[in-house]
Subunit: 212 residues, 2 copies
DNA sequence: CGAGGTTTTCGCCTTTGGGTCGAAAACGTG
DNA sequence: CACGTTTTCGACCCAAAGGCGAAAACCTCG
């Protein structure tokens, strides 16, 4: 979501929401305060710090150091936004102000990574969803196709997926009705260990093989 | 590496090196400038941004927002440091100033994570090393024992380990001489895909099984 | 100089986890 | 009620990572 600047510098360019840090707030509170002027911040399902951008000339005029945040909204919510703001696909950005384009790309990269090794998907999905719908969400966020079979198995094995018991009616062209699921753990949750060099676990059970 | 504050606030407590951001520098340059007053910054093998700490009361007096960085030094280097500074093990910190203890713990966590899915080990190891030495480094940084067999295999498969051809002489109690290795890629390098939901690859080759 | 202790290295095995495919199930429609 | 559609499930596969234990290479001491 970007808003179009009315004044110089960079008038008419599209810009991320933001503003100055207040005396009695930390940066996350400030972000939410700034954002509240554009949308209902209660619709945000997840907010996390991204990175600091501090190049001396990143904006013209007096020095500005920016701390960027990544915020997510569930896919079933379409927030009301004011006239000077609009949603853009990450792959089709307009001309942006300052260094905001690189901030956005950094955010997209972070989202892709975290989808893989956390349950951050809960922040993108509605409370109940079908595997197909979740598959489309993940595909869009990651930028490549993921298989529904796999997605379900991976999330299930981690104990993150929970069937609601209900089914969603099939589309206009028929087809088997899809089972509905929800995420069982809401808060953000990191996979115990990431890729490699886990402490102890698998391998050959002690006292098994006696070769030759 | 901490230095002991001489003046209030928090006199005599131990503190991370740092200072105010200058007008014509970005934060990374500032960090290095501050740090240069304590050690030779050319010995740093890796520097990366950690996080911003912005609680309004994190330090007494005028508002201070801090951007914390993680810096690494190879294990074979023991930098000269001034009288008011000292090295501490992360598990045995003295009484620290402000919120520096939580900053340190965040840094340690980041280090552990990145060791798993990047080749960040190159920043901790000397140019040439034995697998045993590397194992000790990883164990210390991760906080749990890793097996030498496994470490070597994991790093080799990623193409990060390269034998020098030399061997290092055994210790005073004898033992087989250890082969020396070096990291083939110096710059930081992320594992192509992290844990799960890779694009396409493995699995059953097309047109193989014809069950029953 | 060989027996015995030590450290490293290597080969073989197991477990885990992610991937592919095809068939079966459950729907709508003509 | 045959047919196209979508979802779900089961069978199989491969790669990566962990665990031993044996073999290799070295030192020291009797």
């Amino acid at each position: 979501m970007l808003w179009q600047r009315a004044q110089e510098p960079h008038a008419h360019r599209w810009s991320l929401p933001g503003g100055a840090l207040g005396d009695r707030e930390d940066i996350e509170a400030s972000i939410k305060r700034q954002l509240a002027e554009k949308v209902d911040v209660r619709q945000l399902s997840h907010v996390e710090q991204l990175s600091v951008f501090s190049a001396p000339d990143r904006v013209p005029g007096p020095r500005v150091v920016a701390t960027a945040f990544l915020g997510l909204v569930p896919s079933d919510i379409d927030p009301e936004i004011p006239a000077d703001t609009a949603w853009f696909p990450v792959d089709g950005l307009p001309e942006t102000a300052f260094d905001h384009r690189s901030i956005i790309h950094k955010a997209r990269h972070r989202l892709g990574s975290k989808l893989s090794y956390t349950n951050l998907g809960f922040a993108l999905a509605p409370p109940d969803f079908t595997i197909s719908a979740l598959r489309e969400l993940y595909s869009a966020a990651l930028g490549y196709r993921v298989s529904a079979t796999n997605l379900q198995r991976v999330l299930s094995r981690r104990g993150l997926l929970e069937p609601t018991g209900d089914t969603s009616p099939p589309g206009p062209t028929g087809g088997r009705p899809a089972a509905l699921f929800r995420f069982s753990a809401r808060g953000i949750l990191v996979t115990d260990q990431f890729a490699v060099l886990r402490p102890p676990s698998g391998g050959r059970p002690a006292g098994a093989g006696a070769t030759s």
